[in-house]
Subunit: 243 residues, 2 copies
């Protein structure tokens, strides 16, 4: 059987360099050998979030484990711009959706935030969201994996905020005014409230910060996850790596 | 019991005007009276896609039917810009997602398209997608409901294309080049291919059309539904009603 050079991409928590050997987890071995029917001699792409993407050959394959050997770097590390997405968790599948899309669109760090109107933050599974981010990175050919932080409270987050990082926040009260974006480069964070938006007090607090810029996202009411995607898109096209 | 003035919004296929009476479908009656526990005297918001939004009072309520009477127009009809979204259906829930988001972001017409790499077009349920669009319109406070067309073949669609409507198509081969958008106003359509993109022949055909403009959406690989959202967002901010 001819060796398969598949476009399967795996994230591994292991250094990647020429001749480096990487042991597979049980799940990865099952996926490669059981599901995808790869075997010794076949190759897959590996990335670990900091050494770029490597072509690696299978040198040992068993039901529950296996070993790959790195051969050549196929792509260098490509970092996304220094953009955080700070978002209030919503319903489970829509929160997962925010995480998946933030990875595709190129956010560097994801911070779930508990706000006054946030319902679901105490049920938030950080490990599951990180797994969602990992899967999205495997799919979208990313060489970087954004970390998903533990939930933080809105107030605490802003108490400790470094004003060198500008904040873009979606202000529903501006609906219908032009979606004008600031032009300052440098580190940024996008803040997205839950369904129902920020509380009046939260909005006042953001408006009072010099580093915070409100933005309108058109005349219709956007769901929280739609606002997250739209804001990431506009930021990337104006200030990020889509320019 | 005090009358409830809820923010429940229903789409009805019926003219709306002062004193106009509207009979509810069985499902709507179940929803209003069984699920939401509304009763005679309570009000809901109605829209039909062309008469704006009306406050209507419940004047008869039964298990399987009911009657509302329009009282006052609460918002005029707000048409989205003349933007079509022409998209290749993908997996079921991701196709529904494209439709939902296109309504929120403000597309005027949705056209599912069969391309060379489209897998799922023969299983597409136009009625289900129209129902998804309707639900999205009810949720996002839209007063307009974009129609979802039957599936059309890529070739046939372009054979009959009116060149006065410009086409924005997402060209994966431009990944990494700037996401520059054209500036021509007027009618537009966004074309989104399936997972795997357009075929070489399809891309050549689009490139050969004077009215078609390729656009890049950043250096990462976007899923089809992400590309649809990002393209709608950029178009709205540059040429649409987010300006």
């Amino acid at each position: 059987m001819a060796a398969k050079s598949s476009r399967i991409r795996l994230y591994v928590d292991h250094p990647l360099a020429a001749s480096e050997r990487v042991a597979l987890s049980r799940e990865q071995a099952h996926y490669l050998f059981g599901v995808m029917r790869l075997d010794v001699g076949d190759t897959v792409a590996l990335f670990n979030g900091h050494d770029g993407e490597w072509e690696a050959r299978i040198i040992a394959a068993a039901k529950k484990n296996g070993v790959l050997e790195c051969e050549a770097q196929t792509r260098p590390l490509q970092m996304p711009p220094d953009l955080w997405l700070v978002f209030a968790p919503i319903r489970k599948e829509r929160t997962a959706f925010i995480v998946e899309k933030a990875v595709e669109l190129g956010a560097a760090r994801l911070i779930p935030m508990q706000t006054g109107f946030t319902q679901a933050a105490n049920r938030l599974r950080q490990d599951k969201l990180q797994a969602t981010a990992l899967e999205a990175a495997e799919q979208c050919e990313a060489t970087y994996l954004p970390p998903v932080d533990p939930v933080q409270r809105f107030g605490r987050l802003l108490d400790d905020w470094n004003p060198a990082r500008r904040i873009l926040f979606c202000d529903e009260t501006l609906a219908g005014t032009p979606a004008t974006l600031p032009t300052e480069a440098g580190p940024w964070a996008i803040f997205i409230g839950p369904e129902g938006g920020f509380t009046e007090a939260e909005r006042d607090r953001l408006r009072g910060m010099n580093c915070a810029h409100p933005v309108s996202l058109g005349p219709r009411i956007l769901r929280a996850e739609t606002a997250a995607l739209a804001a990431l898109t506009l930021w990337q096209a104006h200030l990020g790596d889509w320019r």
